[in-house]
Amino acid sequence: MSGYYELPLLILASSMVPGLIIFMLPEEAVRTRITLNMSGALLKVILVGIVIWGLSNGQQYETRLPFLPGLELVLKADALSILFITLSTVLWLVTTVYAISYLENSPNRSRFFGFFSLCVTATIGIALAGNLITFVLFYELLTLTTYPLIVHRGTEEARRAGRSYLIHTMIGGALLLLGTVWLYSLTGTLEFTHRGFVAGLLPGHDTSLIIIFALLIAGLGVKAALVPFHSWLPQAMVAPAPVSALLHAVAVVKAGAFGIARVVYDVYGIKFASELGVTLPLAILAAITIIYGSVRALFQDDLKRRLAFSTVSQVSYITLGIALAGPIATIGGLVHLVHQGIMKITLFFCAGNLSETLGIHKVSEMDGVGRRMPLTMAAFTLGAFGMMGAPPLAGFISKWYLGLGALDAGQDWVILVLAGSSLLNAMYFLPILHRAWFREPVQEWPATNYLWHRETAWALLLPPLFTALLSLILGLLASLPYSTLEWARFITSLEYSP
């Protein structure tokens, strides 16, 4: 098998280089900036397409650069990273379109899009990382590049949110680093391997390994918003809507969940991890997070905060699926990694549209908004039903496999958690939908006149419609080749087959 050396680097560069150039552009260079952004995003989609095609034909893509004595920076495209990369690349393209229109006429756009591109670079780096040290590197880079996006508005509230974000993620990063160094000092390698690398190397270090596992998961759990570490996420809502969308669907939260998948599958190996007895506590933690997030979401009037708590809850489905340690649950968790991203980004786009076009920030102001913005609210409705897990939407696939997986792994209590969470989801989403579609509007909405459609600017409208449609398609056509479900099955077969 011949390896393609440069391609992973090119994928990184396709967003990093435009990002760095954008920093140097003057504020007025709108056209150049848009061209750079869009060509970077499109190029990345093409490159990722090539990689997927190559991988399914047995090609290997790997880049190795010398870094520390005995350690290399490794970028490697494998099945699991492809899942995450495809998600980030497609959603980055969509979000870029959205963000360009959303931030029209607001100050400091060069800085914003510069960090925006770097943020995606870091996410892609996380996805491509072939060993734990590379992962840590991009993980910290993600922390740093997200910070300026969160405080972008420059208000006192934004500064506080940024501080809270940093306190959480820095401590998380420190724990992750400590775990990584410790693991390295024990094993002398950090290379991700199918079914883990620690099991064969270390007889009789079980206690150390359990503590290391706890350190790594705590470090990753901060970004994945697992329960004791989740409070930064709702605060980070002060950021502009495209940032929230990206944060929740792709970048930060997902990076944490993806990291947990990496640690469980490729560092410890699922079999060894469940022998150590670390997966059950993780599953319980995830279950608590699911319920807690949903309950908190019930009581939020601010739309974006409600969505934020919903994210806290939904991302833990992924962790739950991984921690249940059975093949079917794994499929559920991995599929949800993609599906949650697509559905949640739809919801955030819609929330952004409401606030940008009509100035609506609160659920209680949403009476009758469906008449004024039917397409936006239609997309929102699809996203919300997906979150509740209604067939035939993408969210149903995840929940179905999670439920089956729980039974298969003999963890029947999980069914209760899933049912409870779906009920709670319905309780906080249905009132929104009811208000939007069935109540009389309290006030006249300001009429706006856009060229293409009177609802809102087309660049704000197309992204949520596209992602909503995508979530429908992924649900309907789940069994076709190259669908997320099939891809997740493939990854699972790598991990579980004898």
Binding site: P66, L68, P69, N108, V136, H152, G154, A158, L166, L178
Partner: protein
């Protein structure tokens, strides 16, 4: 050559005050060329001894180059060049007349110090270094700066005196001051132990290790930005370099207990400096306390005492030199821009002075030890060593130090984004000053990616190899 050049420059600057800026810059470039030539020679031939005037070691003065001294020379050149360019943009002609001769004298002292092969020569250079540094602090004028300079002078003299006392004891016992010869004749007698304690104490005072750091924050914070950068990046490192040489080559006796002690002081410095930095309301004071904290990391290598730990400490030293000088230069820009350095009144500098803030932030990344930066590499090496030898405490202290660093760096960056209640009239900052700060910060990041050759350079002449054979390199020549 490297010693004579800046000395000539100093004299010329004294004699021709009108052309001082051009002369100074030319000297700086010449030194840089000389250092690169020496690097090339070192890579060809390995560690070298050079007897000045043709007299051999027991009688004459020897100069000695190995990977360690060359790295110190190179970092001096890098920081020195950037600061020189910055200073030419920052200082008005009447200040530049004083700055250049003093700075070149300081550079002479630094180069001579890194090249010296005997302890008495080191004493001379140390004294020269101290005096020129004090004069540079006083350059800012004003009562605060003069007071700080006075305190610095006393501390510096006390430190040199302790060192000289120890040196006298050694000379009395072994009749030589040459490092290689001393290393061969070394034995464990009370006089040697007394000498070791005295010299170490003197050097610790100059390196400002906790609790002997009290003089550093005022001196570094009140000096002009270019000077603060030099002091924090290079001057405190020089005395650390001597200490390192002493411990590795002259006193390679069993020193587990003293090493532990230094490590404990280092740990205390990391935490104390970090907490103090977090409490500061003035930007330059914050950066100065951050130096106290970061110097502590260098001493964590003493209790670990493996080659990898020494390399980690050296890497941190390099990264701190680059990052801290960048930070001080950036702070200088902010000070000039707003006319003040109160952190909470930074007033949207993220928008208005983005390049300077980027320099500060990148330097901050290295100070926090986040990847990819030189600071991360150093901390990784130290952490790895600590955990391999099961020394948990050091690892935890280092992690806590990084968190504190993150806290104080982001405290500044956070306020840079918001609008202050009190706005100040903004004055122009020249692009040269912004770019030099940025270049240094970028260098700290790049050094974190190109780890191969600095680490390989540290092996030339094996200055960091542990155990007694540290003598080999010297004895061979």
């Amino acid at each position: 050559m490297l010693i004579v050049l800046p000395l000539i420059g100093t004299l010329l600057c004294f004699l021709l005050p009108r052309q001082v800026k051009a002369l100074g810059l030319m000297t700086a470039l010449a030194i840089a060329a000389g250092a690169v030539a020496l690097l090339w020679q070192l890579l060809e031939q390995g560690a070298m001894r050079y007897p000045v005037g043709g007299w051999g070691a027991p009688l004459g003065i020897d100069l000695y180059v190995d990977g360690l001294s060359l790295l110190m020379l190179l970092i001096t050149v890098t920081v020195g060049l950037a600061v020189s360019i910055y200073a030419n943009a920052a200082f008005k002609p009447e200040k530049a007349v004083y700055f250049w001769p003093l700075w070149l004298l300081l550079w002479t002292a630094l180069n001579a110090l890194f090249l010296s092969a005997d302890l008495f020569n080191l004493y001379v250079t140390l004294e020269l270094l101290g005096l020129s540094a004090v004069a540079l602090v006083a350059l800012a004028g004003g009562s605060a700066a003069l007071g700080a300079a006075m305190r610095y002078l006393l501390v510096s003299l006390l430190g040199s005196m302790l060192y000289l006392l120890g040196l006298a004891l050694l000379y009395h016992s072994f009749a030589s001051v040459d490092i290689a010869i001393l290393a061969q004749r070394m034995e464990s007698t009370p006089a040697v132990w007394a000498a070791m304690v005295l010299m170490t104490a003197g050097l610790l005072l100059k390196t400002a290790l906790f609790p002997l750091h009290f003089w550093l924050p005022p001196a570094h914070a009140n000096a002009p930005a270019a000077v603060s950068a030099l002091l924090s990046a290079l001057v405190v490192k020089a005395s650390f370099y001597i200490l390192l040489r002493l411990w590795l080559e002259v006193f390679p006796l069993s020193h587990a207990a003293p090493g532990q002690f230094l490590g404990l002081l280092g740990a205390a410095a990391i935490l104390w400096g970090g907490v103090q930095a977090l409490r500061q309301t003035r930007l330059k004071m914050l950066i100065a306390y951050s130096t106290v904290s970061q110097l502590g990391y260098l001493f964590i290598a003493f209790p670990l005492a493996t080659t990898m730990a020494w390399k980690g400490a050296m890497y941190l030293l390099l990264s701190h030199a680059l990052a801290k000088s960048a930070m001080f230069l950036a702070a200088g820009n902010l000070l000039l821009f707003g006319g003040h350095d109160r952190i909470s009144h930074l007033d949207r500098v993220a928008q208005r002075l983005p390049l300077t803030l980027a320099a500060f932030a990148l330097a901050g990344v290295s100070i926090m030890g986040l990847p990819p930066s030189a600071g991360f590499v150093g901390k990784w090496l130290l952490l790895d060593t600590a955990l391999r030898s099961g020394e948990w405490g050091w690892a935890v202290v280092m992690i806590l130090g990084s968190l504190l660093a993150a806290a104080y760096v982001f405290k500044v960056i956070g306020y840079a984004f918001t609008q202050a209640e009190v706005t100040h009239e903004a004055s122009e900052v020249s692009p040269t000053m912004e770019w030099t700060a940025f270049a240094l910060a970028l260098a700290a990041i790049v050094l974190g990616l190109l780890t191969h050759w600095p680490l390989a350079l540290m092996d030339i002449g094996a200055p960091l190899a542990i155990s007694l054979p540290a003598l080999d390199s010297g004895a061979a020549a």
